[in-house]
Amino acid sequence: VNALLAAPVIVPLTAAAVAVMAARRVPLQRALSVAGVTGALVCAVAVLVTVDRDGVIATQVGAWPAPAGITLVADLFAALVLVVGLATVLAVLVFAIGQPGCDDESPAFHPVFLIMTAGVAMAFLTGDLFNLFVAFEVTLTASYVLITHGGSANQVRTGMTYVVINLLASLLFVSAVAFLYAATGTVNLADLASRLDAVDPNLRTALALLFLVVFGIKAAIFPLFFWLPDSYPTAPSPVTAVFAGLLTKVGVYAIIRTDTLLFPGDLPERLLLLVAALTMVVGVLGAIAQDDMKRILSFHIVSQIGYMILGLGLFTVAGLAGAVLFIVHQVPVKASLFLVGGIVEHAAGSTALSRVGGLVRRIPYAAALFLLVAGSLAGIPPLSGFVGKLALVEAGFDARSFAVVGVSLAVSLLTLFSMVKIWNGVFWGVPEEPTPQLATSVGRLRTPPLMNIAAGALVALTLAIAVWAGPLYELCTEAAATLVDPAPYVRAVLP
């Protein structure tokens, strides 16, 4: 039994349990929270190193042999996403500790945050479809609490939409699992991969579509994204950052996992490419129409999901490698953009483009961070977004899917346009109706050092991804090879 695989789930859960008992003792809760996430991150790195050395590893929870028991399994794809996800969670956690009034007003923040971390780790590591449902529910239930945490009218209104749409998706998930079980008699992913061969291809296509809808709602792909830009911006900045960085990517992870392992080639041809193109275009057009920094960034979450689906839609090793690399780059980039938004909101009192302006002189550090990550989001060389997009574009040309590649390049330009819009509105110019903070002060605005350090560390991570893009891309290619040919995955689970 390989206990290492369970550690990224168990460590944060244990820390959460202890943090509940430490309610109202803020320093102790903070220490527990940081220790829990750091512990999970260390274990995740150990998992990545092991998988890179030995190939896919699996463990049976409670020593019940697969397919009867619950399986935890890590291939390179899962390990990579897990490591970068937990690193992002750690940076956001430090930011939340640094932001006054974020984690110290309610005893629930740290336990719930830790439970969400455990849920995300379980979603990446599980090798069992029903356990994936449970992981989603653990993550989402924690996120429901975080998004409505303040209890203000706006948060309750958007939280309601968020909870209802996710609950509906979860119920569809249960129904899809029921149909799949009726057809095959198992919920173990590796077992399903072999048993689905005997199922009628039309039924396989129906099941694949049903799962695409279920995970598509969670991942916010076109046309199932409408809930996201409304609900994300109202939460506190660190919460939005971790949602933006991780939660939609858990959905994308599930889409890639099911469509490569269970239903390879079962979806209608070119459906995913069409969905990818529409997701990119509609997301970016929505972003251009907005005039609030957090809302612009929320629409860009949707737009960037399209690139990941594009890599999956190509269904070549190069395409999937591009998708994996793009996820790895997108998680810290998206989170750090929202952290910069959090700094702006804390210093200037608002993120509406009409109410703030000229911040390049007032908070130059945040402006510099924004330039680095906004350039990365738009794909300007040599930043990490360029590397991810280059991999996808090359894969698209190799697969002769010129139309969707053209769309992705045009969307990059529009992304750059809306980043310039944020820059002009927030960091240059003069506010039309300045917030009280800006109107009554001159010179530098003070921001808590811990917020700056956390955001800076996350931006440094995105720069590191760009610097080590070569070795990272080789890892992603190996991960993609296991996705296209899942025989090692199945062998590790069912020896």
Binding site: F130, F133, V134, E137, T141, Y144, T148, G150, G151, S152, A153, N154, V156, R157, T158, G159, M160, T161, V163, V164, L167, L168, S170, L171, L172, V174, S175, V177, A178, F179, Y181, A182, V187, D230, A289, Q290, D291, D292, R295
Partner: protein
């Protein structure tokens, strides 16, 4: 597999979706509850026909067992949907306390963006009035709570 149960699942989903499309929060919660019942029944149905309880005795075989796995899954799903229904009801109550209305509210920011689009056109008055009425009706949405 029982046809009656299959029809019941379909009916639960249909009624649930119909209720879900309403603007009244309590109906939405009820709709989700019905869909959850449907999904749980579907899980049990997925296990195949009825059978004896899956206890292993020395003098009896295991051939006529009911499939216990979908039942375990359904049990998990029931617990989760029960907890979330309670959470939804608490949210609906909080919404009622804050706004005095048991309804799904409009996205003001979205309406404002739509108004920006239309302002160049001549026929903006209708939408503007609608928005103003909306904002007057919901003062709590303008500013976060102290």
């Amino acid at each position: 597999v029982s046809l009656l149960l299959a029809v019941l699942v379909a009916a639960l989903f249909a009624v649930g979706v119909y209720l879900l499309l309403d603007r009244v929060l309590v109906r939405i919660v009820l709709g989700l509850t019905l869909i959850a019942y449907g999904a749980n029944l579907l899980l049990v149905l997925a296990g195949g026909g009825p059978g004896t309880a899956p206890f292993v005795f020395a003098d009896r075989g295991t051939d006529d067992f009911a499939d216990p796995l979908p039942q375990a899954l359904a049990l998990t799903a029931i617990v989760i949907s029960f907890g979330l229904t309670v959470f939804l009801l608490a949210l609906a109550y909080r919404s009622w306390v804050l706004t005095g209305a048991d309804e799904v509210e409009n996205d003001l920011e979205d309406r404002r963006i739509a108004r920006l689009r239309r302002e160049t056109d001549a026929d903006t008055d209708e939408l503007t009035d609608e928005l103003d009425a909306l904002e007057a009706h919901l003062p709590a949405l303008r500013e976060p709570e102290p």
